[in-house]
Structures are given as C-alpha cells and as structure tokens.
C-alpha cells in the first residue's frame, strides 16, 4: 500500500473519531436542551453561552468523582465492560460512507475509512458484540440488580436484532449488494430507500431504538426497578464511558438509518452540482447533507425519549416477537414478489 493512502486513511480515521466524540459530547447537551424545550423549560444556560460548555463541566465532574471498584470476582471484566461498549460504538463508523469522493491533488479521495463489500454484515456483527459490554459489566458488578438489568438488555437486544436483520434483508434484496457504498450510490437524487421500503424503515427504526437502549426500550436502566441498571456499581469516568457510549452509538445508529434509508449523502440535484460546481463542492455539500440527516435522527431519538414512557417488559417482548418479526417476514415476501413481477413485466 502506498504511504499516501495510509496517511490519507489515518487522517480520515482520526477525523471520524473526533467527529463521533464531539457529536456524542454535544448530544448530551442537546438531550438536555431538547428535554427542556419539550417540557416548556429552557435547559442548561449557565456554563458558557447557551450552556455550550455543559458537556465539559459534566466530564470534569465525572473525572473528579471517586473511582470505586466493588469487591468483585473479576476486576478485569469489570474494567473491560465500559471499554467494550465504547469500542463497539466506535467500530461501526469504519464502514460508513460519509460522502462520495473528493478530488485532491490529482487523486480521488474516497470519503470512507474502508469499503468492504459485506459492510452491512460487518455492522450487524459489531452491533451484536455491543451486548457483551453490558452483559460483562452487569455480571462483573457482583450486584443482582446489575445482573438482572444486563439479562434484560441482552435478551432485548437479541430479540430485536432478529427483526432488524429481517427488515434489512428486504432492503438487500432490492439493492442486490451488502456494500454500504453501493447502497448509498443507488439512492442518488431522491431515490431514497425509505420510499421503496417504508415498512422496513419503520421496523428498522423501532429496532434501532431497542439496540441503542433508548427510551421507550431502556428497560436495562429502569430506575424504578433496577436502581441504575447495569452501571449501578460504576463510578467516575467508567460510568461516563457507559453513558458516552450510549450517545456515540446513538450517533452511529442515526448514521446507519440515514445511509440505509434516507439516501446517505445524496440530495436532489447532486448530479447537476457535480457538473456545474465540480466534484469537491458537490460532495462537500453531500457531507453536510448527511450530517443534517444524522442530526434530524438524533433529534428524533430525543423527541421520542421525552414523549413515550417505557414499555413493560412483556409488551417489549410481544412487540418484538409477535409484531415486528411477522411484519418483517411479510415485508420480505411482498418485496420478493414485487421484484419478481417487476423483472418479468417491466
């Protein structure tokens, strides 16, 4: 591999990492603001202008807390829990196409850390590792509430991964590829998958709420029953890592939603912009557009959180197994029939 490619990818990876971190940081701020606005309040406004330094203040507070490790069987696993959660949340961003390409110094720079042709499989693989962070943390806490919460989170994530996978299969049948880059390219203009797969999109959306452990599916952190859930025994920055990982994975799952169903970096008139304004400007706008879409989904996550109360556990399981999975299977069948008929008659 050329050294320029390595440098290029290195810069890109660091940039993505920084962006993910900043987005996660400011998601905590945005969450407080959105929560406040939806409840007719103002929200944090003391730390810096508009409370923009609030995430720093939170981080500082967490750092200055006592680092407490309970008397547990396996201290290594206790420490590994938050690390796994965090790294899983970050790993997914490797295959996401953040833009089409830029033309810099006579070379085409692809705006993606790595373009593997089974990117979708990779994402699902990494997402299912996410449950280990919670399970290991909950188990190693040596606390029955933590363990119960971890069990809940585990069974919830496994149940919803099934429906999520089935929803995506219909999409893959349509696009005929697992590569996120090609899926993004197929949605050029306004050919967004959400118009062809509305049912699949809704199932995927519901499941991604469950996968990121957000309300209404945040049974793992159900304060009334389980104290703090799997991170009851965690303090200081290890606790911060768990919370931070939640926001990072929210950012990543918003990105996946935007890439799979909402046309990734495409916007109406992108071809015209490429012809008239050049590749660089058109694709930079594309990156901004992708970020706008991501921010909308992050807002949507928060909007839902401050609207809907938590589901009961049996409701959660009913919804997952008895509603979403049958609908997802029906969606696959119908998609298959439509594709077949379209091939025959169109």
């Amino acid at each position: 591999m050329e050294s320029t490619v390595i440098i290029e990818k290195g810069i890109f990876i660091v940039a993505i990492f920084a962006i993910t971190m900043i987005m996660a940081m400011y998601s905590t701020w945005a969450e407080r603001k959105v929560a406040a606005w939806l409840q007719d309040r103002i929200g944090p406004n003391r730390a810096g202008p508009l409370g923009l330094l609030q995430p720093l203040a939170d981080g500082l507070k967490l750092f200055s807390k006592e680092e407490f490790i309970p008397d547990t069987r396996n201290k290594f696993l206790f420490l590994a829990g938050p690390a796994i959660s965090m790294s899983v949340a970050l790993m997914t961003s490797a295959v996401i196409p953040w833009g089409d390409k830029l033309h810099i110094a006579g070379r085409d720079v692809i705006l993606q850390a790595t373009d593997i042709d089974v990117a979708l499989l990779y994402i699902f693989g990494v997402l299912s590792v996410g449950v280990y962070g919670i399970m290991i943390g909950g188990w190693a806490s040596n606390n029955k509430f933590s363990l119960m919460s971890a069990m809940r989170a585990g069974s919830q994530m496994i149940s919803y991964e099934v429906a999520m996978g089935l929803a995506v299969i219909a999409l893959v049948m349509m696009s005929g590829t697992l590569s996120l880059r090609e899926i993004a390219a197929q949605q050029s203009g306004m050919n967004w998958n959400v118009f062809y797969q509305p049912v699949g999109f809704i199932i995927f959306l519901v499941c991604s709420f469950a996968e990121t452990n957000r309300t209404p599916f945040d049974l793992a952190e159900c304060e009334a029953e389980l104290i703090g859930g799997y991170h009851t025994e965690y303090s200081s920055m290890k606790m911060g890592f768990y919370l931070f990982a939640e926001y990072a994975s929210m950012f990543i799952s918003s990105t996946i939603l935007a890439v799979l169903y909402f046309g990734a970096y495409n916007y109406p008139g992108i071809e015209w912009a490429v012809e008239n304004w050049g590749v660089n400007i058109a694709n930079s706008i594309g990156m901004v557009v992708l970020f706008v879409k991501i921010c909308f989904f992050i807002f949507f996550y928060m909007w839902v959180r401050w609207t809907i109360p938590r589901f009961r556990y049996d409701q959660l399981m009913n919804l997952g197994w008895k509603m979403l999975i049958p609908i997802a299977i029906a969606n696959i069948v119908i998609t298959g029939i439509v594709i077949l008929l379209a091939d025959k008659f169109l």
């Binding site: 606005w37 939806l38 007719d40 309040r41 406004n45 839902v304 401050w306 919804l319 509603m323």
Partner: protein, 180 residues
C-alpha cells in the same frame, strides 16, 4: 338493584379491558399522536424564570423576611413585650428588654424597648402569627418582600436588629408621604 350497579358517588365506571387489535398493539398511531403533542411544546413560551436576573412578582400579602417597624418620627415601635415570642409556634424569636434612658426618646417610642431582638430564620416558618400577636404594630412580614438568603453557616441565619429594623430613611420617607 344489585350491588354491582350501585354507585354512591356517581363516578363508578366499568374498567375496560378490551383486547387491542393488531394495529393498536403496534402502538404506532398512539406514538405519532404523542409526538405531535410534544412537538407543539417545542414552540410554546417557556415558563422558566431565570432566577438571579429575573425575579418572580410577589403578591401583596407575600410573607418574607420580617421587619421591625418605626413610627412616623423614626422611633422603634417594639416594646419587647414578648407576645410575638409566645405566639411563635416554631420558637424562633428571642429578645431582651431594656429601659429607655433620658435622651433616647427620639429612638424608642415607649419607655421599654428591645435591646436584643433575634429571629432564627432556620426555625421560622413564616406563618405570620407574630405579626398577628403584636399589639404595637411593630413586626411585619409583608413589608420587605425579601426572601431570606441562603448561607453556609447556621449562625448566619440568626438575624439580629441590624437586619430586622426598618431603615431610618424608609421611616422618614413614610412620614413625608403622610404629610403631603
């Protein structure tokens, strides 16, 4: 009439345990309705009062920090009779009486006055019974419109005469208003 149908309060209702249809049990419609309600609140006027900069408007009868009043000529009304301390349900008031010396007539209205008058603001419940008990119209809670400030030491909450007695300028201003 059987027992099941009698409703003494007139509010008896049959609990509906109707089974949800498939569409209803997806919760989608209900969730969208909820989302529309909350998004409307995003644009409504915020009710927050940004406290140190903005202050809530207090009602005319708001009972805040006490004030020991002076009369038109700036003399203290209080005669240290102790009725307020007796009336106080929280036992927040203590005082020590003293006799007025010749030459102090411009300071105290009657022959006896309170040399020390202390209210423990941590004990006080701002009920206003001292105000009701006072025969000399000396203590009022509705006058200052000040909330007792927080402090970090318990001793700081014992307010003496330096904080409680009405400022002299205020008494003079009152008397001027009366003349005009």
């Amino acid at each position: 009439m059987s027992l099941d149908t009698i409703s003494l309060s007139g509010k008896k209702m049959e609990v509906s345990n109707k089974k949800m249809s498939f569409w209803e049990s997806l919760y989608l419609v209900a969730i969208v309705k909820g989302l529309l309600i909350t998004i409307r609140h995003l644009f409504t006027r915020k009710v927050t009062i940004k406290y140190p900069e903005q202050r809530r408007e207090l009602s005319p009868v708001y009972r805040g920090q006490h004030m020991l009043k002076r009369d038109d000529q700036g003399r203290e009304n209080c005669t240290a009779c102790g009725l307020c301390a007796v009336a106080c349900p929280a036992e927040a008031i203590t005082m020590k009486a003293a006799e007025r010396k010749p030459g102090e007539e411009h300071l105290y209205r009657e022959e006896k006055y309170a040399e020390i008058y202390e209210i423990n603001m941590l004990r006080c419940i701002f009920c206003g019974l001292c105000e009701e008990a006072c025969p000399k119209d000396a203590i009022y809670l509705t006058e200052t419109k000040v909330m007792v400030a927080s402090a970090s030491k318990r001793e700081d909450f014992i307010y003496g005469k330096d904080k409680l007695v009405m400022p002299l300028e205020m008494a003079l201003r009152n008397s001027k208003n009366k003349v005009s």
